[in-house]
Symmetry: C2
Subunit: 244 residues, 2 copies
DNA sequence: GTCGCCAAAATTGTATGCAATCCTGGCGTC
DNA sequence: GACGCCAGGATTGCATACAATTTTGGCGAC
C-alpha cells in the first residue's frame, strides 16, 4: 500500500495541462508514458487503478482505458486479476527492440532524405538545439528531458519519412528503448560525446541518403553498445524485488 | 434500429468457442477481427457498443475494451462521441501497408531461414495443405478461409523468425492487408495460379536465405499488383455512404 | 418549398456498485 | 518449528446508472 511516492501531474514538461475538454484517457496515457520513460516510475512498479485514478481525479474506467493503451504499446504488462505493472523488459526483449530499429530506421532515413522539406529542417534544428542545451545542463530533470528529446529526434525522422504505420511502430520502439536504456544503460547519456544526431541531419540536408542511413544504423549500434545486456539468468525474482 | 444483418457468433471457424472462463474482450476482438477481414463486416460499418454487446451477451464495458484493441490495430476507427466504425483504408494507407511489409518481411525470411526447425517445417506444411485444399473449394466461405489461411502463412513466418515485436507488427500488417485486399482486390484470389508460398517454403528448407527473401519480396509485389489503387479522389463522402 | 431552429431520441463518456479473484496474516496441526 | 489451511482485506472484472454529446425529426418562418 502507501502512495506511489511521486507526483505524476506536475510533470517536468511546461505544457501537458491535462486539458479537461479532451479525451482524458489519452492525457493520462501520455503522463504515465512520460513517467515511465523518465524512470519516475520504476520497471515492475504496480499501477493500481484506484491509485492512478485518485491521482488524476478520474474513475477507474478512464484509468483502465489508459492502461490498456500502454499495455498495447508494451510499456505496461497486465496480468489478469492481478493488475498492471510497468514493463520490465528482459535483455532478450531489449535485443529485439534494437534489432527492429536496425531494420526500420535506416529505411526511414532513406525515405526522409528524399522527402525532407525546409520546414522539416527547421523542426530538426529546433530539436537539436534543445538537445544540446539539455546536454550541458546538470540535474536529473535535464537528464530525463534529454532522453525524451533524443527519442523525439527519431520520431521526427519517422514522421518526415511519411509512412504513418511505420511512424507508429517507431513510437512504440522509441518508448521501449527509453525503458531499456533506463534499465540497462551504463553511462546513461546514450549519445554523449559525439553529436550523431547532428551528423545524421547534415547528411539528410545534403540529400546523401545512403550516408544518412549508414550513420543512423551506426547510431543505433552505439546506443545498444552502451547497454549491459549480459544474461543474468533467473533474476525475475530480484527484478520484482527491485520494483519496490 | 436495424440489426447488423449477420451473425458474428456462428463463425466459419470450427473452434473459437467464446470460452467463458477467459477474458471475453479478447474473444470478442478475435470474432470481430475475423468478421472484418472476412468482409462479413463491410468497411465503414458502424460498430455500436450496445448492438455488439447484445450479440455477444456482454456489457458495453467489455465491448469497449475489444473495440479499443481493434482501434489500436488499425482495423477500427473510433470517433469521439460518434462511435466505432470498421476501418476504410485509403489507397495511400494501403500503399503504406505494403511498403511496410516490403521492408519487414524479407528480413524476417532471412532470419527464419537460419532458425527454421523441423517442427516449424511441419507447421508450414500443414498450413500449405489447408491453403491448397481451400484453393480448390468453391463458395464464399472457402474464399474467406483462404484469405485468412494465406495471412497465417506470413504470421507463421514471423513467429519462426523469433522477434516477438516484429511478429506483433506483422499481425497488424497482415490484418490490414486483408482489409485492403477485400477493398481494392481485383481477382480476389491473391496468390492464384502460382504457389508462391510453397516456393518460399522450399527455399527456406534449402536454407537458401537470400532466395527466400527475394521470393517473399516478389510475392508481396504480386499481392499489391493485384490491387486497384487508383486515386479516385474525394470519395470520402461516397465511402461513408457505401458504409450503409 | 426551403432553410433554420429546437426538442426528443439515441449513442457514447464516465462514475459507481457488486461479484469474483487473488494476496495476506494468523491459527491449528503434525 | 514448519507446513498447510482458512478467513479477512484488497484489487480487479464486469454490469449498470447517469451525464454529456450528437443525431434526427418536425415545426415554424421566410
Amino acid at each position: 500500500m502507501g502512495g506511489m511516492g511521486f507526483d505524476l501531474k506536475t510533470s517536468s514538461q511546461p505544457f501537458a495541462p491535462l486539458r479537461g475538454g479532451e479525451d482524458r484517457a489519452l492525457a493520462i496515457r501520455e503522463q504515465l508514458r512520460d513517467a515511465i520513460i523518465d524512470r519516475r516510475l520504476a520497471p515492475g512498479a504496480k499501477l493500481s487503478e484506484a491509485e492512478v485514478g485518485a491521482l488524476f481525479d478520474v474513475s477507474r474506467t478512464v484509468v483502465r482505458a489508459a492502461l490498456q493503451m500502454l499495455t498495447f504499446e508494451g510499456l505496461v504488462k497486465a496480468e489478469r486479476n492481478r493488475g498492471a505493472f510497468v514493463a520490465n523488459p528482459t535483455p532478450e526483449e531489449a535485443r529485439q527492440v534494437f534489432n527492429s530499429r536496425r531494420l526500420i530506421e535506416p529505411a526511414l532515413a532513406l525515405e526522409a532524405a528524399r522527402r525532407l522539406t525546409s520546414s522539416d529542417i527547421a523542426a530538426f534544428r529546433q530539436r537539436l538545439a534543445l538537445e544540446s542545451q539539455l546536454l550541458h545542463e546538470r540535474g536529473a530533470t535535464a537528464r530525463r528531458a534529454e532522453i525524451r528529446a533524443s527519442g523525439d529526434f527519431h520520431l521526427l525522422l519517422a514522421s518526415v519519412a511519411g509512412n504513418a504505420i511505420l511512424a507508429r511502430f517507431m513510437e512504440e520502439l522509441v518508448a521501449r528503448s527509453s525503458l531499456v536504456i533506463a534499465l540497462y544503460g551504463r553511462t546513461g547519456a546514450s549519445s554523449c560525446g559525439h553529436n550523431e544526431h547532428g551528423d545524421i541531419l547534415a547528411a539528410l540536408e545534403r540529400r546523401d541518403a545512403p550516408e544518412a542511413s549508414r550513420l543512423l544504423l551506426r547510431h543505433i549500434d552505439h546506443i545498444e553498445a552502451d547497454l549491459d545486456l549480459r544474461v543474468t539468468e533467473g533474476l525475475a525474482l530480484r527484478d520484482a524485488l527491485g520494483g519496490k
